[in-house]
Amino acid sequence: MSYKPIRTLFELPTEENLAPGHRMCSGCGVTVGVRQILLAAPKDVIVVTATGCLEVSTVAYPYTAWRCPWVHVAFENAAAVASGIEAALKALERKGYGKRYPVIAFGGDGGTYDIGIQALSGALERGHRLLYVCYDNEAYMNTGIQRSGGTPYGTWTTTTPFGKVRPGKTEVKKNLMGIVVAHGIPYAATASISHWKDLMNKVRKALSYDGPSFIHLLTPCNRGWRFDPAQTTRIAKLAVETRYFPLYEVENGVYRITVPVPRPKPIEEFIKVQGRLKHLLRPEYADALAMFKKQVEDHYSYIEMMTKATSSK
């Protein structure tokens, strides 16, 4: 598909659809990511947001931070609401009553991995022209740091505290991209707020497709991950550099690592700066640390393997 890639910051528009003055936490990764996504998208865009941090903090009546048309309906249905907007605009345009616009839906990891997975699956299967962004801060942060299907193994949350017999969360992070890719949609990608150009060009590419696209965006949360709010972008970058969060895209079934990490930093560098994970470095959780490391390595190898396996497609 053809799209206009961004090469330098000077190419970014000066008008923004997300206004300052919203109530997201200082150092919030989500806001950084949403801002980048909207800067990459056309100005005339319709945004759907699932219930969550982004929703409650940007639209508290009578104020709104959104300069584009925006809607929130409920927690688990952002993909369904976006489907309806897309389908209705399609009919209105065909009948000469209106015009189609790009539709972007934002859901957190709770709204995507867990309660919203059915609506997302339905929307992807039906082939609506929309971009769904999962902003993944790896737990239910808006309700106070409870575990989700996106929370990694060994992580402390308020519902997976570590203790004498448990190392934190005892289940692994669900392979969301695997689920999405299995729908055979034209475009899916992971992204990190630390790699703005990579993210923004993925948004442009995603919106160029006449079908569903998906971006899995890692958005560190200083409240839930327990780190200094000034370190958000640095931690997002460490997630990539340690291979914890590989940046890749799957375009028509072909995997491609967009930010290769040939010499990863030790995973401990990512772990030790976060209150939710650093207990894994204590001797009593050595087994859990080994398990955490193995999962990170296995996942990266899996993406490498898929890249090789689909390269001749």
Binding site: N77, V81, A82
Partner: protein, 392 residues
């Protein structure tokens, strides 16, 4: 003008009306006994007879969510469900009315699990009674067809902007084939027009929908829905007048059958109103002064009309096809009792639950109810709900 008559089931009649209403979006999930509606619309799509989009969603929750999103673009939107499907939509019913989306939904009233039953009662709609939707019940297939067209007109008024449910009884209406007079396509189109919605998802004039509200302004949002309901009540007759001009048919908020000089009345909803009317007609031939009130508009509740029809009656039976477990009386009986109490009117009343899970309600059953009213001394009417026909 040639009136076109077709033999249609209730579900088919609904689908025909949707096709004629220039609907832009239908999002629906199949559930017995609503399936024929979505099947028929799919046929219209396949044959190029339906210009809108049909979105075959993966659940009723998504069906209504898709409708809400679609409606907020200014599009005309329809869905249909029944029973469990309506229960699954429950959360979004409130979002749809709170966001003031004029969606029209056909509900083929069916019992709620458990035990599983695909047959008729009103437990589904009554379970979502307070969801802020206008609620209309129909008696026959013609009425089902007419009320879909009527409902879009009512819902889309600027002073209303509320979603509407058109309730038709499972199987008794959904699958029953009757002769239906269709209104011409162009006449329907002209009647409905395309009212432009001031607030919609439009980049040229961007608004935010579905904001979070605090305790100091949430109440005011809810109160606006109260006002809209009152407006819908006021607008109802005007919209019906308009509808009767294009169709020659008028139903009213209450269907009144031999009520003026009656001593005894049955209040009832849905298809069994027809059964009760037939019983009343036979009893009238015997000189018995009985009549039937079919409650067609259930929300907003036609308080004034109910009071008028109650004036001077010796006794009434209020028939509910749903149970409000643990409540003093089931829903319709509660409403009528409350209306009487608030207006210092005391017509002796018996209340019944009947026909749960599709249990048949025959002409003889309606006659039995009238006879109970007539034989007992009204001052000795039992106060407790009678579960009519239940095997104890």
């Amino acid at each position: 003008m040639m009136v076109q008559k077709l033999a249609l089931s209730g579900d088919e009649a609904v689908a025909y009306a949707v096709k004629q209403c220039d609907v832009d979006l239908v999002a629906a999930y199949p559930i017995t006994p609503q399936t024929i509606i979505v099947e028929k619309i799919s046929e219209f799509v396949a044959n190029g007879e339906f210009e809108g989009e049909f979105v075959p969603v993966e659940s009723e929750h998504s069906a209504l969510s898709t409708c809400v999103g679609g409606s907020l673009t200014g599009a005309r939107v329809f869905t249909a469900t029944a029973s469990q499907g309506l229960a699954l939509m429950h959360e979004i019913l409130y979002a749809a009315s709170g966001l003031r989306t004029p969606i029209v939904m056909a509900i083929v009233n069916r019992a709620l699990n458990s035990p599983l039953s695909i047959h008729n009662d009103h437990a589904d709609m009554m379970g979502s009674r307070d969801c802020g939707w206008i609620q209309i019940y129909v008696e026959n297939v013609q009425e089902a067809y007419d009320r879909i067209i009527f409902s879009f007109k009512l819902a889309e008024r600027d002073d209303v902007l509320l979603p509407v449910t058109v309730n038709l009884d499972a199987f008794f209406l959904s699958h029953n084939v009757e002769s239906v007079e269709l209104i011409e396509d162009e006449v329907v189109k002209k009647f409905l027009g395309r009212p432009k919605r001031k607030y919609r998802l439009d980049p040229d004039e961007p608004y935010s929908f579905g904001a979070m509200a605090y305790p100091w302004n949430c109440f005011e949002f809810k109160y606006q829905q109260v006002v809209a309901m009152k407006n819908a009540y006021r607008a109802f007759d005007e919209v019906e007048d308009g509808f009767s001009r294009i169709s020659g048919r008028k139903y009213g908020k209450l269907g009144k059958y031999w009520t003026d000089d009656a001593d005894y009345l049955i209040f009832i909803m849905g298809s069994s109103a027809g059964t009760a009317k037939h019983a009343a007609r036979l009893m009238r031939q015997e000189g018995l002064k009985v009549g039937v009130v079919s409650v067609k508009l259930y929300r907003p509740f036609p308080e004034k009309e109910v009071l008028e029809v109650l004036e001077g009656k010796k006794g009434i039976a209020v028939m509910d096809r749903s149970i409000s477990f643990g409540a003093p009386t089931p829903p319709l009986a509660s409403d009528i009792r409350s209306v009487m109490f608030a207006n210092d009117m005391k017509v002796p009343m018996m209340n019944f639950v009947y026909g749960m899970g599709g249990r048949d309600f025959s002409v003889q059953d309606a006659r039995n109810i009238f006879e109970m009213l007539m034989k007992k001394d009204p001052s000795e009417y039992p106060k407790e709900t009678i579960y009519y026909g239940v095997k104890a």
